[in-house]
Symmetry: C3
Subunit: 218 residues, 3 copies
């Protein structure tokens, strides 16, 4: 029993749940991007994978955790591929794919800002680097998705997006540093990120942009 409890504390089940939840919603968001661009079924599978595993792949390469995670755990690419195929056949059902894409993405970043923080801290890096790694984990899948699909990246828009990831991962990391139980810290980090991003989507929150003169063209 004691051993069991220890294991639960070390690798809380909530991370496993969050993990697969995040993979699935990001794969959905990749598939929805493919549907908006009227791609073929291969495009759906590729974009589901890029969005679901892209951020974690870049994080693993930067930390030197190679081969990157999905090479040995092929379930990731199998699940993401299946979700891609599924979205190809069901994307016409929701009324607004656009809204669904926004919310799937929001849940995805909330998930991966917590998971990315934890994986970064497992690699024994400083809290500040861990926050940066969490932002990379949560946002790079979507960034690569946007660059490859020719969409404007989130970086160019002034919505509250990276800020939500930043606050969520900071919440999680500060609570862990304060020796709070990982389960509670994870729930707190996830909720904070989703709340901020959700309010931003719902009420169209955005930061004031730099206002002086737009740049001239090259």
């Amino acid at each position: 029993m004691i051993i069991n409890d220890d294991i639960l504390t070390t690798v809380p089940i909530i991370f496993s749940v969050l993990n697969w939840f995040g993979i699935v919603v990001f794969a959905i968001s990749g598939g929805l991007t493919a549907s908006r661009k009227e791609m073929d079924i291969i495009g759906f599978v590729i974009f589901a994978n890029i969005t679901a595993i892209g951020g974690g792949t870049v994080r693993d390469m930067m930390l030197g955790l190679t081969p990157v995670f999905w090479v040995e755990q092929t379930l990731y690419i199998i699940v993401a591929s299946c979700v891609g195929v599924l979205v190809f056949f069901t994307a016409h059902i929701p009324q607004s794919r656009f809204k669904l894409l926004l919310w799937a993405d929001a849940i995805g970043i909330a998930t991966f800002c917590v998971l990315g923080s934890q994986i970064a801290m497992d690699a024994n890096i400083s809290p500040i680097s861990a926050i940066f790694m969490a932002i990379i984990t949560a946002s790079f899948g979507g960034l690569i998705r946007d660059v490859l699909s020719g969409d404007q990246t989130i970086l160019m828009r002034r919505e509250i997006y990276l800020t939500a990831i930043f606050v969520g991962s900071t919440t999680y990391i500060v609570l862990i540093e304060l020796s709070i139980d990982k389960n509670y810290a994870a729930i707190a980090g996830f909720s904070t990120c989703l709340l901020i991003r959700g309010l931003a989507i719902r009420y169209n929150w955005y930061f004031p942009g730099y206002k002086s003169r737009p740049g001239r063209d090259y």
Copy 2:
């Protein structure tokens, strides 16, 4: 004699031939992209290198095979650079650079879907991951070329492209798992990929795209 045979079985000469052949045709395709965009000679050299060694570089970084392959084998960047210079002075000769680009690229992906599969399996990863790595090896050089030159990436078009890589590398890996001689497996994988892609170019094959409503702009 026996030792010699063993060495031949372990590192079949066909891989060395395919390898340099692939580097050259991909470097040509990079140079042709540079010519279509009317770049200067430096642009030709850079795009020849990006296309020829980009896919393998990403693969090596993901697998942790660092320093990446061309750092110690500088012949790769020397050959790709020379091809870039050569294309700068000869790209006006072919009647249709566009068609030549398509076919050079087709031969390149057929080559690297086999080589990428083999390198991935040498790293002792599962067959499914090896197929993914083969797709990355064969397609990422061209993807980075397209993103940096501002062209629409192949992912956005509905031609049979990644499918050809997928079938070619699966053919190769299945034959290897069935203990077929590497030389035959390599020829089979290469031919399958080139045949499918070639037919797709010649007869304008494409997959049906997702058809519902195009996405609205952000």
Copy 3:
């Protein structure tokens, strides 16, 4: 005293000065890009970081120097972030942000073509690979900045840019191979790169482009 001298010879202070100077000017150039696109303050911080640490991050991943440099030396991301915030509040002051951006970028590439060469040679790679690594270190931060901000990358323009990096790092590496003192070699490499790029900006130098027929659209 002798030990002190040895240390000075091994890690000349000029590299430390150049290093932070390069980080700051590249962070400024990232912030100025953000201002030209009228981003919010988060965008300024992100683009300052991408431009300042992007090239070195790609270099470290390719060489296998992981975790990449800024993970353990968080001062890099702290400094770049502060510069981003500072630019947000001061970018309206210079008369031409565009010209400032060009010159900050020029000083940045002169700095990092020397530093990138040195770090590559510390990793015991061949001089030719070291020159390629220097080009990657000096140019990839700006390349990623341009791709993510939707600007045309420097690769598509015909200005003397990569050539300046190439000549600067070659100068440095040749002098080092000739056993010239690192301090002098660094000053020579830096000056050569900045001089060539500076003249190119001032007198609008560019290479002749490939001239035949532009490519047709896909």
